[in-house]
């Protein structure tokens, strides 16, 4: 089963490689991983999308917690979080398909951010399932290039997390 995990880390030298090498060294999957600074100066936040049964997930969470620079680990799989992802999609758009692309973009509330006579570049955001859906529709028209940020997630409700 797929899990989205948020990891608050100290902004220390090498912390990203510690996390990445933990996953590769123990044979855990990474479907996506994002990392960027937070509202606290010394803290960054990673969002990792991974897969595994309950026992593997328990190990992943515990092993992450064991890394010295990791402040907090939260598993959002129980629906306690909201997830978003951004994708930049370059798609073939010639003659009759140009209108079709625009229609899809409109339905998904995406945006065209670059145009040529032969292509559109689309910016789409939403939860990862929505991104998958727009891609499924665009693929038959000719995907030239795709960049996804990977999911980011935040907890629902009024409470915020700090270090």
């Amino acid at each position: 089963m797929q899990h989205t995990i948020s990891v608050l880390v100290e902004n220390e030298f090498g912390v990203l490689s510690r996390v990445a090498s933990l996953f590769s060294g123990r044979g855990f999957n990474i479907d996506s991983l994002t990392v960027a600074p937070t509202n606290e100066e010394k803290m960054s936040r990673m969002t990792i999308v991974t897969r595994g049964d309950d026992q593997i997930l328990e190990q992943i969470t515990k092993q992450l917690n064991k890394l010295i620079d990791i402040i907090k680990v939260i598993d959002f799989t129980d629906g306690s979080g909201v997830e978003r992802e951004l994708a930049l999609i370059k798609v073939t758009a010639e003659d009759e398909s140009r209108a079709e692309v625009l229609r899809i973009v409109d339905i998904f509330r995406a945006k065209i951010i670059d145009v040529t006579p032969k292509s559109y570049t689309i910016e789409a955001t939403g939860n990862p399932v929505k991104i998958d859906a727009i891609l499924d529709l665009l693929r038959p028209l000719g995907l030239k290039e795709l960049v996804r940020t990977g999911a980011v997630a935040i907890g629902r409700g009024a409470k915020g997390w700090k270090g």
Binding site: V9, G14, Q55, K66, I68, I71, G163
Partner: protein, 566 residues
């Protein structure tokens, strides 16, 4: 007072109570060596190889319980420490490894003797630091020692660039250390402890299974008190040997691949297993699917990742083993009547175990014509001091030592359990002897492994470290040969050493003393003579070449499918 980074490093070590370090000089640590020249509070021992220096720091740590410290130059010096670091990591040994590094402006440029040692050692260190600014050095050292020794201990590497060693700053050692992202859980949850005692007292076929955590957590005394109160059977792993006296009637000895029949049968038939500071390694569980099929499992460990990693657990207790056991003793004292009932209830179980012990005790067939290795080990126990420290290398001799020496005190066995590192025996004994100049330190090695760090004879002689080196010479890489005999139709591919070594001459070449014999009648005499010598000694015993370590659970078989005599 302003000092340079190199000097601050030494001052930090002094503040941490370090009295001995094992180090090897080179270009990127030459400034530290220059400071050491006049720094008299720290004894520096020069091994003949950085791997040995790392094992020596590890041996020092295992024997004392303090943090072992070693030092190496950048590049090849640093890479030579890797095996030693991985060995310590697998057995959770507290160490601080200081490596020189090229000056910060050159890092990443493939400078002379530059390697990314932090990257190389990331999977085998508990943590690591790169010192980028001399102002951070004191805090980094404080954290390094704190991380190495607390929680589940482990090696911490400090990579120290040359320009930072030269840079100056005011030296202030921090009084306290606070790492918000690192808070090892020390106290066992009181409710969980109560539940654990209740489960134990209801059991009819309980076994306590103890690992290295009880030794590392200095909990041998509490463990012994509790288990004696309950008269509960106790088995230990290789790493747990010494935590519970093997001469106690409730000791089952070691379990696992080369463990005692009674220990493995007890695990297989138990209705409750109390795992203490152990991690259900594959050498202990055998085939997981058939491991302890009838047992509930209580697992006490300071490291939450150890719990439920390999086996299901019915009651986890995360916490310092010493603390948890202390609480359990109190709880047992509160429940005196139940304890009495419990002792009666487990009597039939104890009879079963005694039956297994009688049926297949750990044993061997002695000989009057050829030296049996087990006989040498028994003689060593008989003739050595009660508090003698034994280190081993890796192979058959290691298992014979575990089976036949009989360990009754914690921290008297130093052995590479997790990584199984050949070459560990001699240098780790050197580290233990440096820590305890007055105690008997004996290393038991094979003819293969002893040659992996044999150069340390020079260090022993130079530093007057009177380690007694026992070589059980079968002229084979015996443990691998045993597998070839049992599982590969005796195709002894590259396990026969062919060339006989004259170990007496070898000792002589280094200025040590050497004895050798192939006669059983000489064994006692040689051991006695060697123990009388003031300096390091090699005792070579030419043993029965094809003697096997038995019993044996073949890899992948169930614990109760032991090969008893093949």
């Amino acid at each position: 007072m302003k000092m340079n980074g190199a000097r601050i490093m030494l001052e930090c070590l002094k503040k941490e109570g370090v009295d001995t370090i094992f180090g090897y000089p080179g270009g990127t640590v030459i400034n530290i060596y220059d400071e050491l020249f006049s720094f008299k509070e720290i004894r520096h021992i020069l091994p003949r190889h950085e791997q040995a220096g790392t094992h020596a720091a590890d041996g020092y740590a295992r024997a004392t319980g303090r943090v072992g410290v070693c030092l190496a130059t950048s590049g090849p010096g640093a890479t030579n420490t890797v095996t030693g670091i991985a060995t310590a990591y697998m057995d959770s040994i507290p160490m601080v490894i200081i490596t020189g590094q090229v000056p910060t402006p050159l890092i990443g440029n493939d400078a002379f003797q530059e390697v990314d040692i932090i990257g190389i050692t990331r999977p085998c260190t508990k943590h690591s630091f790169l010192v980028k600014d001399v102002k951070d050095l004191a805090m980094i050292m404080k954290k390094a020692f704190y991380i190495a020794r607390t929680g589940r201990p482990g090696p911490v590497l400090v990579d120290f660039p040359k320009d930072v060693q030269i840079a100056q700053t005011e030296f202030v050692y921090p009084e306290t250390v606070e790492i918000r992202s690192y808070k090892p859980k020390l106290e066992g949850h009181p409710r969980q402890v109560e539940k654990a005692m209740a489960m134990i007292l209801e059991a009819q076929r309980p076994v306590v299974y103890v690992g290295g955590g009880a030794v590392l957590g200095n909990a041998a005394e509490e463990l012994t008190t509790l288990c004696r109160k309950l008269t509960i059977p106790v088995t230990t792993t290789l790493m747990g040997l010494g935590s519970f006296p093997e001469n106690d009637p409730n000791s089952l000895g070691m379990l696992g691949m080369h463990g005692a029949y009674c220990a493995n049968m007890a695990m297989t038939n138990a209705d409750l297993i109390v795992a203490i500071g152990a991690r259900f390694d594959d050498r202990v569980t055998g085939k997981l699917a058939t491991f302890a099929p009838h047992a509930k499992i209580i697992h006490i460990d300071v490291d939450p990742t150890s719990i439920k990693k390999n086996v299901r657990v019915d009651l986890p207790i995360v916490g310092d083993v010493k603390d948890v056991l202390t609480r359990m003793i109190k709880q047992a004292d509160k429940l005196k009547d139940k304890v009495t009932e419990f002792k009666t209830a487990i009597a039939p179980w104890q009879t079963d175990i005694a039956g297994w012990k009688d049926k297949h005790p750990i044993g061997y067939k002695n000989s009057t014509t050829v030296i049996k290795p087990q006989f040498v080990i028994q003689k060593l126990r008989e003739l050595s001091d009660d508090d003698a420290i034994i280190s081993t290398d890796v192979g058959q001799h290691q298992m014979w030592t575990a089976q036949f020496f009989q360990f009754n005190r914690p921290r008297t066995l130093l052995t590479s359990g997790g990584l199984g590192t050949m070459g560990y025996g001699l240098p780790s004994a050197m580290g233990a002897q440096a820590a305890f100049p007055g105690r008997q330190v004996i290393t038991i090695c094979g003819d293969g492994g002893v040659q992996m760090n044999i150069q340390e004879l020079a260090t022993l002689v130079q530093n007057k470290l009177p380690v007694k080196i026992v070589i059980l010479n079968n002229n084979f890489l015996g443990m691998v040969r045993q597998w070839q005999e049992l599982f590969f139709d005796k195709r002894y591919s590259s396990t026969c050493m062919e060339l006989p070594i004259d170990f007496v001459k070898l000792a002589d070449a280094y200025g040590a003393k050497g004895f050798s014999t192939s006669k059983p009648g000489d064994v006692e005499k040689i051991i006695k003579q060697a123990f009388k010598e003031k300096g390091p000694v090699i005792m070579e015993f030419k043993i029965a070449r094809e003697e096997k370590v038995l019993p044996m659970v073949p890899a992948g078989a169930a614990l109760n499918e032991m090969v008893l005599n093949a």
